[in-house]
Structure formats: structure tokens, C-alpha cells
């Protein structure tokens, strides 16, 4: 059973490595958006410290969104998606593999670069740690929920804009607790509660979202 998950992850990672430009451009998008905020708001450190969690998280949501339209579209266009749907395993497991691979190339790099960007906003060491942890814990849920939207909008005109319309409202809990964890740390309350809620959401999303996506993909393949 889990073999198929690993096969899909391995295949998608190999494909992503052959197309590194995509990963790099999403990462640069994240960096640029985050860096624009101090330029728009002004250099007062107190204000920046306060805004940092929200700014970083909103930018992370948008950067994750960038790669979502292609999550299934490439496989759909060249016929691979049909073959995946015909593999002798539940399609939900295949999608689980694709979601994990998506996180590895989109969410994980964001988490790794986030502390560096946090320094621009004068966050303390502890806050940087919590920020990294929150992005690590929260972005898998973004990939999972995003997969549902990507599957529902597969092959539609203007699918990219529609995808954001469907997915961004559903991202709100992740945004709230992700930014809240850092907020709570900055204000000295401790972000553990938020982090465990984020982890719960990620587990729920990874468990549930692939099956909803699989149902949506089957409709798209009819």
C-alpha cells in the first residue's frame, strides 16, 4: 500500500528536480513579497515586529498557491493522470503521494528561508524558531487543501483564478494559527497551543483532503 505513495513521491521529486526553475521562482516570489512590506510600511522596527507573522504567512499562502494549478494539470495533459487513476491502488493514496511531494518542493523551502526573512523584521531568536516550526507544520495542510481546489478546477478555463477563489477562504484557519503561534511567542504567551492545533489541522488535511481530491479527479477524468 505505502509503496505506491513512495513511488509517486519519488517520481514527482525527480520531475521537480528536472524543473528547478519552478521551485526557485516560487521561493523568490515569497522573498520579494515579504521584502516589499517594509518598503510599503516604513522602517519602524516595533511595527515591523508586530506585522511580521501575518506578512510572512500571507506571503507563504500566496507562494504555495503559485504551484497548485500545475499539481495535476501536467499529468492531465500528457495522459499520465489516467494511468495513475488506473493503477491498482486507491487513487487517494496516489494523491497523498503527490501532496507530500508538493509540500517537499513548495512548503519545505519556504520554511527553510523564513527565518532569514524574519530577521528583516527584527524577530527574536525564539520567535524565528516558532515561525519556522509553524510554517513546517502548517504548509502540509495548505498542500492538502490546495489539492482539492486543484482537482476541482482541473481542465477549466481560468482555472488558476478560480482555484484561488476556492482555496484561499479555506486557508484561513491555517493562517490564523500559523501567525498566531508567532504572535503569541512575541507577546510572551507561548505558541505551543497554536502549534499543536496547526499539527492537528495538518494531520486532518493530509488524511482527508487526498480522498476528496481523488473524488474530484475521477469526475474530471470522466
Amino acid at each position: 500500500m505505502s509503496n505506491i505513495v513512495f513511488s509517486v513521491i519519488a517520481r514527482d521529486l525527480k520531475l521537480a528536480m528536472r524543473r528547478q526553475a519552478d521551485i526557485v521562482s516560487a521561493l523568490f516570489f515569497f522573498i520579494i513579497v515579504v521584502s516589499l512590506f517594509p518598503l510599503g510600511i516604513g522602517p519602524e522596527l516595533d511595527l515591523l515586529r508586530q506585522l511580521a507573522p501575518g506578512v510572512l504567512w500571507v506571503a507563504a499562502l500566496l507562494a504555495t498557491m503559485l504551484s497548485l494549478p500545475r499539481l495535476f494539470a501536467d499529468d492531465h495533459r500528457d495522459g499520465t493522470l489516467e494511468q495513475l487513476a488506473l493503477s491498482p491502488h486507491p487513487l487517494g493514496l496516489v494523491v497523498t503521494g503527490k501532496v507530500i511531494a508538493h509540500w517537499l518542493v513548495s512548503g519545505l523551502p519556504l520554511a527553510l528561508i523564513a527565518p532569514v526573512l524574519g530577521i528583516q523584521f527584527d524577530l527574536s531568536g525564539e520567535a524565528l524558531l516558532v515561525l519556522t516550526g509553524a510554517i513546517l507544520l502548517g504548509t502540509p495542510a495548505l498542500s492538502g487543501i490546495g489539492a482539492i481546489g486543484a482537482a476541482l478546477t482541473l481542465g477549466l478555463r481560468g482555472g488558476g483564478v478560480l482555484l484561488s477563489l476556492l482555496v484561499l477562504p479555506l486557508y484561513i484557519p491555517v493562517l490564523i494559527f500559523g501567525a498566531g503561534a508567532v504572535d503569541a511567542t512575541v507577546s510572551g504567551l507561548g505558541g505551543e497551543g497554536h502549534l499543536s492545533l496547526l499539527a492537528a489541522m495538518t494531520i486532518a488535511a493530509i488524511g482527508f483532503a487526498p480522498w476528496a481530491s481523488a473524488a474530484a479527479l475521477k469526475i474530471a477524468l470522466e
Partner: protein, 248 residues
């Protein structure tokens, strides 16, 4: 045995179409009547609220529209579940017919909420859990309508929309509680939406208005679903007969 309780008969568009046509005038009549009595009680009879003055009368619209916006979404999700489970044609059409009305209810709830909030709280908008969830509900309605409109094949649109509705129904409570928790963690909000001393007469007015909105929504949705049925079933003989028979 009993024909009246045969669900399959009523889930067939050919039977439902004339039935809906017959029911619409009744719902319009009931809605108008309830609305007039509700307005009479709410606007003319009900006393002034000692805390909020006359401004509280907005709740006679605000509360019913908020209820309806949530209730319609639940009904749509119910139809979606039925449609995905039993592959019935009518359920997807019902969900689609309800969506615009639900979105309008959500909009009215936000609009009246803002007009209530400005004199009461001194601000048009507060990032309170209920308001935020209502806003997201409006986004979900718009997302559903956009998705259904973007898919050309009607059956596929029904199914994809159904999945989105079910995902949304799981998410609404999560969104509500996350916003609520987020809000209480920020400095204590001075907003208190509980209306402690609502006089009985006010409650009656509100209930009547809620029923009136309910009737209105049903009537509009039924009228809309009749058009959708005609469009979807236009290749069947009974729709052809309906169209050529001159009855419209």
C-alpha cells in the same frame, strides 16, 4: 404502496417541475403574510430597546438573513451529499438553484450587520468570529457559483460543486472556532452580541420575519429550479410538450 411517500417519484424532474409550479404561489402568499405581520410587529408595535434605542430594529432583518445564509448552505450540502451518494439528477439542480439566494442572504446579513455596527459599536466592521465566518460563507457561495459556472458539462458541474459544498461544510465550523479563538486571544473584544433582555414581542417579530425569509427563499429557489430543469431536460419529451403546449 403509498404513492405520496415515494421519494423516487418526486426526485424525478418530470414530476417535480409541475409540483414546484403549484407550490410557488403558496410560498409567496405565506411569505408575504408572515412578512407583513412580522414588519407590523417589529416596526410598529415593538417597544424601544432601552440599550440600543430604535436602531435595534435592524435585527429583524439581520438575524433572519444570517440564519438563512447558514441554513441554505447546509441544505445545499445536504443535496450535494444526496446527489453524490444516489446519483439523483434533481439534487444538483436544487443546490444550484439555492446558491444565488444563499449568497444574497449572506450579503444582506453583512450589510445590515455593518449598518447596525456603525451606531452601536462606532465602526462598520469588527473582526469578530461571526462576522468573519459570514464573510467567508459569502466567499464560499461565490466560489461554488463560479466553479459550477466554469464547468460546461452539467453532471460534472453538479458533482464537482457537490464535493466543494461538502468540503465547505466541514470547514465552516473550523473557520468559526478558529476565528473565535483568535479573537479571544487578541485583547478582549468589547463586542457582546448577546441580547440579554429581548422582550417577548421582539422575539415574536423576529421569528415571523425569519419564517417570511424562509418562505421567500423557498419560493425563489423553486422558481429558479424550474428554469434549470427546463434547460437540463430539454431533450426529453415532456419538456418538448411543455414548451410547444404554449404553457410557460
Amino acid at each position: 404502496m403509498n404513492d405520496r411517500f415515494n421519494l423516487y417519484r418526486f426526485s424525478s424532474p418530470a414530476t417535480f417541475y409541475p409540483l414546484a409550479g403549484k407550490m410557488i404561489p403558496w410560498f409567496i402568499a405565506a411569505g408575504t403574510l408572515l412578512g407583513l405581520v412580522g414588519l407590523y410587529i417589529g416596526m410598529l408595535v415593538a417597544p424601544t430597546d432601552f440599550q440600543q434605542g430604535e436602531g435595534y430594529r435592524i435585527i429583524f432583518i439581520h438575524v433572519p438573513t444570517s440564519w438563512m445564509s447558514m441554513f441554505i448552505y447546509l441544505v445545499m450540502a445536504f443535496w450535494a451529499a444526496i446527489g453524490l451518494a444516489f446519483n439523483t439528477r434533481l439534487s444538483g439542480m436544487m443546490a444550484q438553484a439555492l446558491a444565488p439566494t444563499g449568497a444574497l442572504m449572506a450579503f444582506l446579513s453583512l450589510w445590515t450587520g455593518a449598518l447596525w455596527g456603525k451606531p452601536m459599536w462606532g465602526t462598520w466592521w469588527v473582526w469578530d468570529a461571526r462576522l468573519t465566518s459570514e464573510l467567508i460563507l459569502l466567499f464560499l457561495y461565490i466560489g461554488y457559483m463560479a466553479l459550477v459556472a466554469a464547468i460546461d458539462d452539467a453532471r460534472r458541474a453538479d458533482k464537482a460543486g457537490g464535493i466543494l459544498l461538502l468540503v465547505g461544510v466541514v470547514n465552516i465550523p473550523i473557520i468559526y472556532f478558529s476565528v473565535k479563538w483568535w479573537n479571544t486571544l487578541h485583547q478582549g473584544s468589547s463586542v457582546n452580541l448577546t441580547k440579554s433582555s429581548m422582550a417577548e414581542i421582539m422575539l415574536w417579530g423576529m421569528l415571523l420575519m425569519a419564517l417570511a425569509f424562509w418562505m421567500y427563499s423557498i419560493a425563489v429557489a423553486l422558481a429558479r429550479v424550474r428554469t434549470i430543469i427546463l434547460e437540463r431536460e430539454c431533450h426529453t419529451d415532456w419538456v418538448r410538450a411543455e414548451l410547444t403546449g404554449g404553457k410557460s
